[in-house]
Amino acid sequence: MAFFFAQFLTGLANAAALFLVASGLSLIFGVTRIVNFAHGSLYMLGAFIGVTLMNLLPGHFGFWGAILLTGLAVGAIGAFIEMVVLRPIYRAPELFQLVATFGVILVIQDLALMIWGAEDRLGPRAPGLRGVWRIFGEPVPKYDIILIAITPFILFALWYLINRTRLGVLVRAATQDREMVGALGVNQAWLFTGVFALGSALAGWGGALQLPKGGADLLMDFNIIGAVFVVVVIGGMGSLPGAFIASVLISVLSVFGVTYLPQSTLVLMFVVMAIVLIVRPYGLLGREEVAGEHGQVGAPEQPIRPYGPTGRALVAALLAVLAALPFVAEQFVLTLTIDMIVFALFAASLHFILGTGGLVSFGHAAFFGGGAYAAALLVFHTDTPMELAFLFAPLAAGLLALGIGWFCIRLTGVYFAMLTLAFSQLVWSLAFQWRGVTRGDDGLVNIWPADWLNSPEAYYYFTLALGVGGILFLRHVIHAPFGYALRAGRDSPRQAEATGIDVKRVQYVAFALAGAMAGLAGGIFVFSKGSVFPTELEIAASFDALIVVFLGGVKTLAGGVVGAGFMTVVEDWLTRLEYWRLLLGLLIIAVVIIAPEGIVGSLRSLWMRIRGTNDEVAK
């Protein structure tokens, strides 16, 4: 019993940092409607800045002073990010904002690497709080008790700020109607900056406060963001008490998980989330609301149509070149082209659900990696023939999408995005922690194709046939009545329902189809590499696909494919540099701000402008 209680206290103490980060994220979302994916990065910065300051400043005052200063410093960094990156794109569709914050993640990762190096830092102990107190005979670290005592005060202070001060009133008003708040004489630009700074400061404090229990390392950003999303989804978006309850719930469960189910600590969190969402789709204390806009805000897109003769000729020419490639190119070019085709199919499947379906999925890697793992597991454990295992990749990914979609399709916008991300983290944690089956981060190796495909040329043609076939199939679906129904549901769900389309069902099927196609890409991938690792399921992998779709252009059909080609080449070139993440991050942010239509979209606008002026001249 005493042990039980001590475990419970540890969970409560762990909840402190999680709650700080989650409340910051929730606060920022409430006002700006931006899901700040870089929030984990701000938490990481808090930890690193905290360590540095604690080493500089001595004693009691130094320790607590360092924590205070860390929050202020991270708040200032947040304000800078808001002014430079987000201010120009508040009116852009939410996907752009999310991609921009992902660019920020990359930039911060490399900056942290530059400044603090790759080595993990151990957090200093809090002066005067090094030992333990005995509670019912069980040792409980003194610092844990302090954290447990502090957290309710932070919750109360935030609650007071939001509910009892003028600033809080303005913030809540802006959450509902920013423009009206501006028309009443409030400079909402500064209000936004202020809220972003406060939310960032909270993340920074979270990072600094957890130092004596943990430390600072370069993986903290992605490690916490999954948990934070789970907390925010369980608690209800925008609800501070909800975030608090969910933080405690998740932290306490993790502590017990470590003791009783050490193999499933990561999975446990997502299981809890799934259960909560079945009962309450908008979280424990959340309210049903249209959270953020869908991916299709902004100028209405051009009507899509099948390619005309010029387009077909171009595609045919491209295919001819690809088909002739093995006769002229070196082997590394073939390998790079296989990567490109795999990535193009993966991106096309994401584009299908995101661009055509209007569902911004942040966990698409679950299906790519899921397909790859499905095939690899069969080969690895049962020596299944490659052909059969390969067929299993899209099948398993499609089934996985049916399962995940059952939870996610009910939600829209940001909720959908966060939930898909959380589920992909669930799949990742299975691959990572279920070592008996998946071998964890050792990965599954020696997954080679059948003999008749075991030459680079043969596998190249195999990839070309299936990859291009998959992409053309998706295009065909988009131009079929099913695609029309999907787009109708995206652009005007109510109108679509009124005309007899079962929007959710159409989206569900589309989600499964997108998952199966991503799984097909994963299947091609695993046999071309001969191995698969949990990295294929990481958040970063999902984001790669999002960035590709975004770079290519969300509102264009060829966007995914063009973006993938571009990205494969750029990455191949960039990754040779030491700080390639920094460059890629800056590139992404620049594209979001300067050319938000993406490559294909910008080219088309340019083309239209040229042709448009010619027309006018002709008149």
Partner: protein, 233 residues
């Protein structure tokens, strides 16, 4: 006081205002009349810079407003009450008023919450209710009260009589006259000629984003053909 000079405003590619000009004089109540879609709301939003005119100028007490953000326009002393009320439905009546609160302004009546409750006694009873719990009429009063908390010199009221009960419309007319007597300059947009005549000193009629009439109600009365052409349904 307010000079709108040859403004052109667009919604996307739709040309809503095609060179609209008018003037609001200090101390008067001006009625902007016209049918649905004539451009009345766009004219008001163009003054507030919620819709940015692509051409022309809007000057208030000699200050050019075009290109300023809406909050700066509000700070020059223009209060805007939107047609669809746009109260903050999750905030209480008191909190809604708080959002509008600005420091007192020279030459403008300075409002306190209690003074507003004198004018709108219904709101006083509901001060801790949330916006969404109010009736249509109460919401209309709250949106006006909220804007008054900014102590404006000029009040823009977009269709104040729309969607509220006839009894309340009468109260609304009295309120506007009371505001005028406090020294406020008011511009209302209306489709209800009867209501406009009861409160306004002068009328402007717009149609298709252009001004078709500018004069007193007596003049308007003398030319029934104008009323028939631009106001009757």
């Amino acid at each position: 006081m307010l000079n709108v000079n040859d403004i052109h405003s667009y919604y996307g590619k739709a040309h809503i205002l095609g060179g609209l000009s008018f003037e609001v004089k200090r101390g008067e109540v001006l009625a902007l009349l016209g049918r649905n879609g004539a451009g009345k709301s766009t004219a008001m939003k163009s003054v507030m810079q919620l819709v940015r005119p692509r051409e022309g100028s809007v000057s208030f007490q000699g200050q050019e407003l075009v290109g300023k953000p809406a909050f700066r326009v509000a700070k020059t002393g223009i209060g805007y009450v939107p047609e669809d009320r746009r109260i903050f439905s999750d905030l209480t009546v008191l909190e809604n008023l708080e959002v509008g609160r600005q420091p007192p302004r020279d030459g403008a009546p300075a409002w306190t919450v209690e003074q507003l409750f004198d004018i709108f006694p219904n709101l006083a009873e509901r001060r801790t209710n949330r916006g969404k719990q109010l009736s249509g009429g109460e919401q209309q009063m709250l949106t006006i009260g909220r804007t008054l908390m900014g102590n404006p010199l000029l009040l823009l009221l977009d269709e104040p009589s729309e969607g509220i009960a006839p009894v309340i419309v009468e109260e609304m007319a009295e309120t506007i006259l009371k505001l005028k007597s406090e020294g406020l300059t008011v511009m209302i947009s209306e489709q209800n000629l009867h209501f406009a005549r009861a409160v306004a000193d002068r009328a402007i009629i717009i149609e298709g984003g252009e001004k078709k009439f500018d004069g007193s109600f007596a003049e308007l009365e003398a030319h029934p053909e104008i009323r028939d052409a631009y106001l009757s349904v």
